[in-house]
């Protein structure tokens, strides 16, 4: 034990006892947890992690104990356990709450503090900066920096090389433009540009707007929006996440759209929880809940609305891979499958463990590279076994992680965002 009196949770973002009490420790979550599947120990299962949270309330374990930090850090926050839980435990909120306590309870090394400020305060909220950084990194990667870094045989250099591997060969940071509704107007929406989406996958944003516009949905420009704060919340930086949330709420309120469309599952899941994030802020909690109720994943919105125009035909064998924060975080399962099935000519094949995390999980592939790699290898093996030529998903982290895994395995499989594929189909002759 860390001391005579274990340190209690430092602030009000702690996982609540009420939410912990919903867990009846039945164990149904264990077989759905990727880290339990690899490590096989209770501490790295959802039930075990909830128990750890409980033992802090019971003063049997300190909020600053290394064991708590270790096992809570190893959690992917993929929330597959939430889908499996018959008791309705809101595990995502619990684990993010616990991370905020660990950040508040433990002192950080100067290097880690600098990295956190650089990533969370500078890069993510500033699209131009992040875009420049991404463009620079991609250029460096194409010049062979990865090979150079690996040649140094230093651990840190190797990790940086792994990160470079994640980047696609081309990035687009074109700003998101407004798009009119083509044909009868069926909706008027605002879109989240996103930090990574906006600086690396700008083309996917444009494709999303084109597909919406083609289906009678007007996309209006929203100035003043910023990064959604999901990565901040996952990393326990709730104060920073709240600041970004307030800026987004204010910006999107001004746009007065019917819905706020998000094409990154991780961002959508976080924005649907703005009400929870700002629950203790009386000036913002009601506004946050009203905003959250308007957030829709692009596949959810389009799937529910129905396509007004049939897309053109494409060829090839494709498989759908559920982003965790779409399936488990937002409980969206049917709509993307229906959209994929609506593209004529495609041979949609089943993918085993499509509901299983790919190991990207926000910044997990940075913070837990070894576990992330094992989880990715399992995903890659399933994809190869499925015989798919194209894997379709709907989240930037998954796109980069799966593509890099397939590339490393020498598998010639393309990974594409569902909205990009739909856009491609609309451009293809019928």
């Amino acid at each position: 034990m860390s001391g005579p009196v274990p340190m209690p949770y430092p602030n009000a973002d702690a996982p609540t006892q009420e939410m912990i009490a919903a867990c009846v420790h039945c164990g149904f979550c264990l077989p759905t947890c990727p880290t339990y599947a690899i490590l096989g120990v209770e501490m790295d299962s959802p039930r075990g992690r909830i128990r750890l949270m409980k033992t802090v309330w019971e003063h049997r374990l300190g909020a600053d104990s290394p064991g708590l930090e270790d096992h809570i850090s190893k959690c992917l926050d993929c929330r597959a356990c939430e889908t499996a839980c018959p008791s309705g435990v809101e595990y995502g909120k619990l684990v993010e709450g616990t991370r905020s306590q660990i950040v508040a309870a433990r002192s950080r090394s100067p290097i880690e503090r600098v990295v956190r400020v650089a990533a969370f305060d500078w890069l993510l909220p500033h699209r131009q900066l992040l875009g420049g950084f991404a463009a620079f990194s991609i250029a460096a990667k194409r010049l062979g920096l990865g090979t150079l870094l690996r040649a140094t045989r230093l651990g840190l250099a190797r990790r940086m090389a792994d990160l470079l591997d994640l980047l696609p060969d081309r990035a687009s940071s074109a700003p998101l433009a407004a798009a009119p509704a083509i044909g009868e107007r069926r909706g008027r929406v605002a879109m989240l540009q996103g930090c990574v989406m906006g600086s690396v996958f700008g083309e996917t944003n444009a494709a999303t707007a084109r597909v919406l516009s083609r289906n009678g949905v007007e996309v209006i420009a929203t100035v003043g929006q910023t990064c959604c704060g999901a990565l901040h919340a996952h990393a326990g930086e709730r104060e920073r996440a709240r600041e970004l949330a307030r800026r987004n709420i204010a910006a999107f309120e001004r746009s007065a759209a019917d819905a706020v469309i998000v094409n990154a599952a991780g961002c959508g899941a976080a924005m649907k929880e703005y009400g929870w994030l700002l629950k203790d802020d009386p000036a913002w909690s009601a506004r946050a809940s009203a905003f959250a109720a308007k957030v829709r994943d692009a596949t959810e919105y389009l799937g529910d609305l129905g396509m007004s125009e049939k897309p053109g035909a494409l060829r090839g064998r494709v498989a759908w891979d559920d982003p965790c924060h779409l399936l488990h975080g937002q409980k969206i399962k049917e709509q993307p499958r229906a959209l994929l099935a609506a593209i004529p000519g495609l041979d949609v094949v089943p993918l085993a463990e499509a509901d299983w995390c790919c190991g990207s999980a926000g910044t997990y592939n940075v913070t837990e590279p070894d576990l992330a790699r094992s989880i990715l290898e399992r995903k890659v093996a399933n994809i190869v076994r499925s015989g798919a030529e194209t894997v379709v998903t709907a989240n930037p982290g998954c796109l980069m992680q799966i593509q890099s895994g397939l590339r490393q395995a020498g598998a010639n499989v393309r990974v594409v965002h569902l909205l990009d594929l739909l856009d491609e189909a609309y451009r293809s002759p019928r």
Binding site: V24, C26, G40, L52, L68, P86, G88
Partner: protein
């Protein structure tokens, strides 16, 4: 600790305080912290561990997925918890002999999924089948909804490999249906880890039924639902499963899986018939007719596999869904003659009321295997669990008095060992003890389970003198 690490290597042994805290619970209410946790990867690891514990007189407690409901995996007398999470391989699927050989950590449902392409399945289907392990099923002789027609785990296990407390590895039975001599496999299945550590299991596989019919019937009260159960069986129809659920349980389930159970019904039956396609329709019609004759307000027949899955998902997630009603529950597992259902169910409700606790019922009605879920909130103080246990004792006493037993499938464990004298005379218990002694002379295998222990059962002394 140091000896264990030297013996097995650091990756197979846990000893840190923070880690041990997470091996003090299972799916039920009792807790105790182990002195160490070992994660073996082979039978050789298990045998080495047993020899070590034998030499140092340390108790050994096996653990599967920790979903058990009688405290079987709780190290009540300390010692080493052996987690079989890393011995989870299916070693052989022998389609022509209808057998599979598995390690104890294999998840029940994973076996059925693996053999499904051969048109086969493993019959016992406890509600926790998505998570529980076959080793745990063997230890507890687990049942499930379909025991009514197909029997419990012991009817589907033909061989085991077991490590005894001195480290000897013994193979009992094999792929054959029946062995000469004493039925030692039968003795081991359901022994709750008190005879040895099972390291390999040979199970029977069964051809998947050609077809199924699944019905959900809603009744105004539990009485009508109960009478329907007896009427179905009296009519000569043998369903593969008849499950019952009361209104409180239905509410929790609907909040969780949206199985489509009517919330206003006093009692719900879930009835399934399976087998050859011929005759299934007749059986379905007969069951439906009997339900309607007993005032069923609604009878719904699943028209697709998805609908059937939903109806079953509600039932199978029912215990865990109690988390929506109450932070804790204490589940009983008493068995009674089916015909006594109405009066014993009333008695169950009264026992709850007497102790100021709500009781939800969801159980295997066809087998008369009750599962009263006594809801309590441990945060209100230790008295809550005590009251739940007192209500539980009254319920079990009534089950035994009605000619039944204290457990159908969850095992005795450390949760009901003090209640054993309700059902058995001291000479019965002594005979069982001699069987245990033959396997485990030093008494190191899962001590404090099944048999009443003087330290924990003092207040139950009345029970042993009552007969």
């Amino acid at each position: 600790m140091r000896g264990l690490v030297a013996l097995l290597g650091p990756t197979k042994v846990l000893g840190a305080h923070d880690d041990l805290l997470l091996y003090e619970y299972d799916g039920a209410v009792d807790t105790a912290t182990p002195d160490a946790v070992v994660l073996p990867e082979s039978t050789a690891d298990v045998a080495a561990l047993a020899r070590f514990c034998h030499e140092h007189a340390v108790p050994i407690v096996p653990r599967g997925a920790g979903t058990g409901l009688s405290g079987g995996a709780i190290p009540v007398e300390g010692g080493v918890v052996v987690s079989f999470a890393r011995m989870a391989r299916i070693l052989e699927i022998d389609v022509s002999s209808l057998r599979a050989v598995v390690q104890p950590g294999v998840i029940n449902l994973h076996l059925s999924t693996a053999v499904a392409p051969h048109g086969l399945y493993f019959v016992p289907d406890p509600s926790s089948q998505k998570a529980c392990t076959l080793g745990g099923n063997v230890a507890e002789n687990s049942g499930g909804p379909h025991t009514l027609a197909y029997g419990v785990t012991t009817n589907h296990v033909t061989g085991i490999e077991i490590v005894l407390s001195d480290g000897t590895v013994v193979r009992l039975g094999g792929k054959a249906v029946e062995d000469e001599g004493y039925d030692l496999v039968g003795s081991s299945v359901g022994s709750e880890g008190t005879l040895g550590l099972v390291t390999e299991i040979t199970v029977k596989l069964t051809p998947l039924p050609e077809d199924k019919r699944t019905l959900m019937a809603a009744f105004p009260t539990m009485d009508e639902a109960s009478e329907t159960v007896s009427a179905i069986i009296a009519a000569g129809v043998v369903p593969s499963a008849i499950e019952m659920m009361d209104q409180l349980a239905t509410q929790a389930v609907e909040a969780s899986v949206h199985a489509g159970y009517p919330l206003d019904a006093g009692g719900i039956l879930l009835v399934e018939v399976d087998g050859a396609r011929d005759g299934l329709e007749d059986a379905r019609a007969r069951i439906e007719e009997i339900c309607r004759a007993h005032a069923a307000s609604e009878v719904r027949v699943a028209t697709s596999a998805l609908e059937r899955e939903r109806l079953w998902a509600g039932r199978k997630g029912a215990f865990a869904a109690m988390g929506r009603l109450s932070p804790d529950y204490y589940v009983q597992d008493g068995v009674i003659p089916r015909t006594r259902l109405p009066d014993i169910l009333r008695l169950v409700k009264d026992a709850g009321t007497r102790h100021g606790l709500q009781v939800a019922n969801v159980f295997h009605a066809g087998d008369g295997n009750l599962h009263p879920l006594i809801l309590f909130d441990s945060r209100r103080g230790p008295d809550e669990l005590e009251r739940a246990k007192a209500a539980g004792l009254e319920i079990l006493t009534a089950c035994v008095e009605a000619g039944g037993s204290i457990t159908g499938e969850h095992g005795v464990g450390m949760e009901k060992n003090c209640f054993m004298p309700l059902q058995f005379q001291s000479s019965d218990l002594a005979a069982m003890r001699r069987l245990k002694d033959a396997f485990d002379p030093p008494g190191l295998m899962n001590p404090g389970k099944i048999f009443p222990t003087p330290s924990r059962c003092r207040e139950f002394a009345f029970a042993s003198t009552a007969r």
